[in-house]
Structures are given as C-alpha cells and as structure tokens.
Symmetry: C2
Subunit: 579 residues, 2 copies
C-alpha cells in the first residue's frame, strides 16, 4: 500500500523550472513512487487528480500556494522526502553564479544600457507590469509568459506601438534576432528570409526547414497567438511586417499563423502587397484560391511556406506593380464592375476569384445565398450575371448562340455612370454562334465610344475560350475584340485577376492614406548585435549566453512578496497605469 | 410614337433556333424597331417586360403558346411584318436538305446501327422520354436539354448505369469524343489527357487551354451540373472517371466541377486515388489543403488544372501506392491514432491536414468547436492533444522543457488496444529540454515492446523540428528516435500525411469491396470512331457533319402534337415507365 503525504507552502514564489527540478529530485529519492510539485491552481489540481495525487490537502490548496505531494512506498520514505524539500530548493545551479545579478529591471538597464531586448517569462499575473516597465525603459519585449489577459495585451501593444517598440507575445514561444534565438528557438543560419509568425512552433518549423534547405533568416518575429484577433488587430504582426519590408537584408518575407479574423487578414494582406518584395503567406487552414497574387505567394502549409521562400530567395521573381492599370482614366463616380457571362462555370469561377479582391460580388447564380442578386434583369453594385441561367433561356437560344440579350445588357451596363469595368466571356467552338465577335466587338466599340463621349473611360475585358482550330478561329475572334478596344486573354483566371486588381485599386484610390499609427521601429537599432536582459526562467538567460550574446539575469521576485493588493499600490506609486 | 402588335399562336412547336431566326428576320424588316418571339413562359414574359415588349396579349399568353410581338414605327410596318411570319417560318435552311431524315429515333437507329451516341436537345418536358428511348436502344446520350427534373435525372442515370451507358446531362453543354465536339465544344487536338467535368464552359476552358498549351485530350466527358449533388451521387462522373482510368491512351485525368456535396467529393476522390494514374482535381472554390496527395494533384482553378495536366503529361510523376504502410501488422481492434503535441501550431496544422484523411479529428484545442475533445486528460477516438495548452502548463513547465507529462500520456495511449498510431512532435533548440530524445526514445521503445508483447503493432511517428546546429543536434535526436523504432521526418506535413494514409488504409481495410453497381461502359466500343444521331437543335447535327463524323438528324416532333395527356398515354403504350 502506497502512502501519500502532502505539504502546502504559502507566500512563496518559485519559477516553474525550479519546481520541476524539485519534483525530479524528489522522485529520485529512495522509496518515492511518484511526486507532484505544483502551484495550487484549478488546472494543476485537475492534473494531479488525473494521476491520482489529489490528496485532501491538494484539493484545499489555493492558487498562490505551493503543493508538494509525495507518493511513497511507506510513511518513512515520504517523510524523508519532504524533509529534504528545503535543501533541494536551496540548491542552485552553479552556472553563471558569479555574474552580477541586479534585483530590478531598472538596475539591469543601468548595467546594460545597450540591451535592446528584455525576455519576460514571469508568471502571467506579474507579466503585464513587468512588460510595461520594460517598455517605459525603451526596450523591446519578448513576452514569453502566458495567462496574460487580452485587455492587458492590447494595452501593452498600443503603448509599445506609440514608442516604436515590439511586444512579441504574450505566449510567444519563439523569436530569432541577429541569429540569436530567444526562448524556444533553433540555431538557424543567417540568410535572406524574414519571418513573422503568430505562434512558436510555426516559426520553429518554418525556420528550421529553411535552414535544412540550406537557406537562412534575418529575423524571426513572434507575435503571440492572439495578435491576429480582431480586438488586437495584428499590432505586432503589422509592425513586424513593416520591419521586414524596410530591412534591405530581407529579400523574402514569410507570414504564418492560424487563420486571422477576416478583417485582420485583409489588413495584413493589404500591407503585405505593399512590401515591395515577395511575401509567402501561410494562414494555416485558410483556403487558398491561388498560388500567386502579385508579390504574394500562398503556401499550403508550413513546410510548403519554407520551400517556397527558399525557392523565391534563390530565384527572385519579377514583381510588377499596378502601373498597367488604367485607374486614373476613370471618373470619381465609376466604381463598379459588371460581369456578363454566357458560361456558368466561368461565371462561377469568376465569382470565386473576384471575391478575393472586393467585399462582395452579387450574382444571379451566386456561390453563397447571401450574394444573391435580387433581380437578374437589373444589375447592382459589383455583380456577375450568368445569361445562360434558366431565367434567360426558357424558350430562347443559349447566349452562346444568340448574342442579342447579352448585347442589350452590355449597352445598359455601359450607360451606367457608376460602372468602370465590364467583363464578358466569348466562348467559341462548335455549337456556338458562327462569329460572336462580329456582333459583340462592334457593340463593345460603341459602348466605349459612348462612354468616352460622356466623359468616362470604360474598360471592357474578355475571356476568349476556344482554339485556333475552331470554325470561328480563336485568334481571329481575339483580333476583332482587341480592335474594338477590349482587353482579351484566354485564361478566365488571368482576366478575373486583372479585373480584381482594377477594382481593388479603385477602392483604394480615394482612401486617404491613414496617418501611420505610432512610431516605426528603429531598424538600425534593431539590427545591432543582440544584447538582452532576462526576467524569469533562468534557462533563457543561459541560452542567450550559450549563443555568445550578452545577457543579464534579473534576480526578480514578485513585488510585495506576491501580495496583490500591496503590489497594486506599489505599482501605482511607481508609474500610474495609462487609461 | 411606336406601335405594338402581338400575335399569339397555339398548338405549335418550333425549336428555339427557328424562333431566333424568325425574330432576326422580323427585326430586319422595314419600319420594325424591336421584336420578341418567345414561348409564353413566365420568365420569357418577364424578359419581354424588361425590354418593354409586354403587351396585354403577351401578358395573357400561356407557356405552350408562341408570342410574336412587333414594335414598329407605324401600324402598317407592324402589320406587314406579322403578315410575313408564315413564309419566314416556312423558309428552311437548304443545308443537308437532301439527306434522309427519319421521323423517329427508332428509324434513325435502324438507319445507323453503328451510331453510339444520341445528342438530345428537345425541350425539357420531352427530354426524359426521348433519353429513355435512346438508352433502351443501347445508345449513350448527350442530354443537352435543361429543365429536366432531378428525379428524372436520377431515374435515367440509374437505368443507364445498369446498361453500361453514359447519360451526359441534363444541361450538359459540352462533350468531346474521338476528337469530335458534341453540342458546344472546341476543336481540341487528340492527346494524353482525359477530362470529366460537370458543366460546359469548365470543360471548354480546360480543354481549350490544354490545346493552347500544345497538348490534347482523349475524352471530354460532361455530366451536367447536378451530377455531383448528393441525391444523384455522381453517377455519370464516376462512370466517366472509370472509363478514363481504364483507357490506356489517357495518361492524365482532369476532374473539374463546382464543389460537390462533401460525401460525393469523398467518393469521387476515393475512386480517383485508385485510378492508377495522375488525377488533377479542381473543385472550383473548394479549399485545397495540399497541392499533392499521392496520385492526386490539386489545382487552384481551371487554368491551373490545364497547366498541371499538361505538365504531368509531359513529365509523368513517379506514383507509389500504399506498399510502405504497415497495415497488415495491426490487429483488427486497432483503429485510432493519437497525437501528443508540445507545439500548438504543429498540433493545429496536424488537425487541418488529418481532417482530409478521416471523418473527424478531436482535439483539446480544436480548429472547429464541434471537434472539441470533451476531456483533455482522456483521449478518445482519433484525437490530437496539445500539451502546451494552458490546462497543462499553469504553474508547470512547458512540455518542450519537461517531457514527464507527455511520456505518462504516451504510455496511456500505447496501452489502449484500439490505438494503432501515435504521433509526437520533438521540438529541439534553445529553451527546449537539453536532450528530449534521451527521455522520449526509451519510452517509445518500451511502448512498442509492450504492445508487441500484447500482440499488437504500434506505429510511433515523430516530427523532429530543429537544426544540426542546435545544442541537441537534430541528427542525433532523429537517430535516437529511429533507434527506438519510431518513424521520423522533419516536415510536420510529411509526418501527418503518412499518419493520414495509414488511417485511411485502416478505415478501408475491413470494408468489403462493394459489388460494382451496374455494368462498366464498354471501352472498346466507346473508342470507335464517333457516329451519332441528333434529336433537337439542327445546328448540333450540322456541327458533327462539319467535323467529318457521320450524323443523322431526326425530324422530331413532340408526340401527340405536344398534348401532354395524350403523350403520356402514348408513352405508356410504348414502354411502361420503370418504377
């Protein structure tokens, strides 16, 4: 029969590494079968319950109390083990023991004024105050601690943004700066790829795979998993992206995270499109609709992101901007596009592709019900009408055979002063009209001319589907359409993306560039050799030293011995919390 | 002031090509401003209303009545136009006028017994009976007609499947057989790619793009847009896929459609995996999670599908089967996998990838709420536990530093007789445990040995994240894990897909291969030079002839002059409808 003994200690603080060491040491003592050494939080108690160490004393323990449970062969072994707790706790790793250890962050900063970073891994309930102190001392913070409220996260990040400082975290496992890994990070060679990642192991997997593929990184910036929630608004993610966009050594950027809130994803991609360099995007589990959109390259997973980034770094792609778009020709009122399709699948794919470029695409045969065009015969906003749908074809010829209805509609759309772009499909081949361009091209020319007379530029784009062996001859059809002033391509995707880019540029045309919020991160400073201060888990300090970078360990203790009330008073006396 | 005149004709039947020709001829007459020539269906009346031709007579017209509206400069012009309707209707295209035109499908089959196909484009309400007749005469049917009920579609397709015949449609715009396009189709050179597509312009876009990329096709099989609905169950799609899988000339298969019902997609992909050749899949707007899974290659769009297919045809990939999987080693009871992760993002990506291989993956930190593992401390079914989540780490060390909890859990999972595969991540680097494999590898070895003693094979797979420059040295860690009997890779995706393939194979292991429903299509017969019969739109007949293939046009009229009651009686006398 095993014996269980429990000891509860109040008013103590040990970091979890210390507790783990204690637990291991106890477990190795003679006669000890199992041990649990945890703070008395509910989840820890549940954990102990699961492994059968939930003694009555454990059940009664409070979150700020340390619970030590011994399961031993007999009472004596349990008592002997408990008797050794104090001496085991007093034992200290010799390593680094002779270095100066300031007792406050302020003193650490005085001792190492060049340290750019503070790694913070104190218990969650102390982490906000510690981080705020670091920011006010002008330091970037790698905030490893979890259990920090989202309200505190937002407050800290907003303050940091005003100061041009990065808060990576809370719950940020990994970062690599100047080739030095902070917290959990791999030794990855320096190279041309910069990474911004929400979480820890995403960044570790991508950076390690990049290293394995013989490339390397400039920065690995972690943001914490909640940064891409709408309430946080990707503050650190966007700051990280901005840093990498400005950094001349970063040739390719990788962005990876779980799928962000829709609005946040849009904001991140918008900024990414302006990075001026290839950006590999992997929002894990977020559907990809294309592998490339301008300078954005979409990866299907972490491994794929690493592969793509290395490929792009080795073979830089040609990047073009939006110089080819006729944005300036449109009037201020022109803001909509209309798709008039004869082919259902082409119309469907067009909706799918264009949905990536604008908030909403209405259609008479919509992908999602909420995009239903109320009346197929009357266009509104951005919409795609499939004229091959039953409502148009009952007792009539299909629009591939009979252009009349579509041409009538084309004139209607062209006369709408809010319409900027009209997209048509021209599908030739057996069965289709013997020469559709002979009817459609003159109508296009007339529409463009009429619009011009009315002071508008009308962009008409066509996807021409068919072959050079078709009776109508694809090349001949294309020539007619081009002569009428249309932009023509044989790929539905190419045409849709051209339309999408115009619509995106039109939407952004009149938006007054928002005044940048906060202060940009000082890149020059960020690129200096890493020097840092560590508050919390001692192993992080050791790791930085092992990598050859200077680091100071703060001999940190919770203020007021962990008494929260007193702590708050102290905090208020020191630096009033911003509202 | 314009004048409107209307003529309503009852008890008449003209195909829509004829009506279009009439409309155009009328519009060209002197003094005529606009015309409408349509059957009096609601949607046609709406259409006329939209262009201002909804006279009171039109509003009163019935669906089986022909409405002719003239808008003219004056009354005389309108009357003159109406007076010419009969002679215009009587005018007949001279083309092919001297050929024999049987008045029934039966006679056509007698005249052309080798014709393998019938193209049917009669009005929807007659199409089911016509198609059934063709099937019973042993012909494949290209059913162009729309407005056929889904119940009739299902009935026709089931009958066809029993007979080993294809029903492409209803509402199937396109097909290419033996290089000959039926209905709407492009002249595409013959080549190594076979296509099955739900709808018309999808097939036209893909086949045309393949031609433009200098390749060609064997078959272009259309199925109609509803074939992939759950109620139809992809009957034609699966038969088409089967044909292409068996056809030795088809080296690459392309499958494209709007996204099928989930269950149908699964069925199609399952069959596609067994095709024994590369299959390019493009379910438009269906998210892709990978670009490749075995012989399946996922495209992001129609254009991408064409590009991929040509690339694969030009550079055949190496295809491997499931020979590498240890399926036979497992007991019958072993059917679950358990993922024990220390990295949140790795766990998240694993859920995402594995969701593609099994119906459900539970998790303590699930992608979707419905996959919530009720108790993080107790595994069930297929599940992924992230031991880095708060519930495990409050007041404890992270599982990357402290392996204890994970190893306890590993033993639990390994002892579960229903568990076949356990997946672990081993993340090294600064911050992590100094030698995780030294603790994890012996545990793995012990679990495998214990399972073996209990008569089970336990597959343990690890993703090892890190580099050769990490303090723990990735290669050394991998060597330890492999020596313990684990399968190890550095890519999370590679490991997950290996697990996924095992789980898929296990799920399929005990499934008794369903007896194939129906009769396989006679491939040899299908590959004979195309010869066909056309019922409906005359232009389809002309097109086949223009392409140099034999075709017979049936001088078809609705039975009983279109009187539905009488038609039903006739139909019943002829061939009783199957129940």
């Amino acid at each position: 029969m095993a014996t269980y003994k429990t000891q509860i200690r109040s008013g103590v603080y040990y970091d979890s590494a210390k507790l783990m060491m204690l637990q291991r040491s106890l477990a190795e003592l003679p006669g000890v079968l199992d041990t649990g050494v945890v703070m008395g939080t509910d989840s820890n108690k549940e954990l102990l319950a699961h492994i059968g160490l939930d003694t009555p004393e454990v059940k009664a323990a409070k979150p700020d109390e340390l619970a030590i449970v011994i399961k031993a062969e007999n009472e004596k072994a349990a008592d002997d083990a408990l008797a050794q707790v104090d001496s085991l706790l007093a034992a200290r790793k010799s390593q680094g023991g002779d270095e100066y250890r300031p007792r406050s962050i302020e003193s650490a900063v005085e001792a190492a004024p060049d340290a750019g970073w503070v790694i913070v891994s104190v218990a969650g309930r102390y982490a906000t105050a510690v981080t705020r102190e670091c920011l006010r001392l002008g330091k970037h913070v790698h905030l490893f601690s979890d259990n920090v409220s989202i309200e505190n996260e937002i407050e800290l990040k907003k303050e940091a943004r005003e100061l041009g400082l990065l808060v990576m975290g809370p719950d940020c496992g990994t970062a690599i700066v100047d080739g030095i890994g902070m917290a959990f990070a791999n030794k990855v060679r320096k190279g041309p790829i910069g990474i911004v990642a929400a979480a820890g192991t995403g960044l570790q997997q991508v950076s390690s795979r990049i290293h394995q593929l013989n490339s390397g990184i400039t920065f690995g910036i972690g943001t914490g998993g909640r940064d891409l929630k709408e309430s946080v608004g990707a503050i650190t993610f966007l700051m990280g992206l901005d840093v990498l966009a400005r950094d001349p050594d970063t040739k390719v950027i990788v962005l990876t995270s779980k799928p962000p809130a829709a609005k946040v994803a849009e904001e991140v991609l918008k900024k990414a499109r302006k990075a001026g360099k290839p950006v590999v995007v992997n929002f894990i589990a977020r559907p990809i609709t294309t592998t490339r959109d301008g300078n954005l390259f979409f990866a299907t997973g972490l491994d794929d992101a690493a592969r793509l980034a290395v490929e792009l770094a080795n073979n830089p792609p040609t990047l073009t901007g939006d110089e080819d778009l006729p944005i300036k020709k449109f009037t201020k009122e022109q803001k909509y596009f209309r798709g008039l399709f004869s082919g259902g699948t082409l119309a469907y794919e067009a909706q799918h592709i264009l949905a990536g470029y604008m908030p909403k695409v209405l259609a008479n045969s919509p992908i999602n019900k909420e995009n239903q065009l109320p009346d197929a015969f009357v266009s509104q906003e951005n919409c795609i009408v499939d004229l091959g749908e039953d409502e148009f074809t009952q007792g009539r010829l299909h629009p591939m055979m009979d252009n009349e209805l579509r041409i009538r509609r084309l004139y209607e759309e062209a006369r709408d002063p809010e319409v900027a772009v009209i997209m048509l499909d021209v599908v030739i081949g057996y069965g289709s009209h013997p020469n559709p361009a002979s009817e459609i091209a003159p109508a296009i020319a007339k529409c463009i001319a009429e619009a011009k007379n009315a002071g508008r530029h009308l962009e008409v784009v066509c996807v021409a589907t068919g072959t050079d062996e078709d009776p109508q001859n694809l090349n001949d059809q294309i020539a007619q359409l081009k002569a009428a002033g249309a932009i023509v391509d044989t790929s539905n995707e190419v045409v849709c993306r051209y339309v999408g880019r115009i619509m995106r540029a039109l939407a952004e045309r009149d938006v007054v560039e928002e005044k940048a919020v906060g202060k940009p991160v000082d890149l020059e400073n960020l690129k200096k050799p890493l020097s840092c201060i560590n508050v919390g888990l001692e192993s992080f300090y050791t790791n930085i030293k092992d990598q050859g970078a200077p680091c100071i360990q703060v001999e940190w203790k919770p203020p007021a011995g962990g008494n929260e009330k007193l702590m708050n008073i102290l905090q208020k006396m020191k630096a009033p919390v911003k509202k």
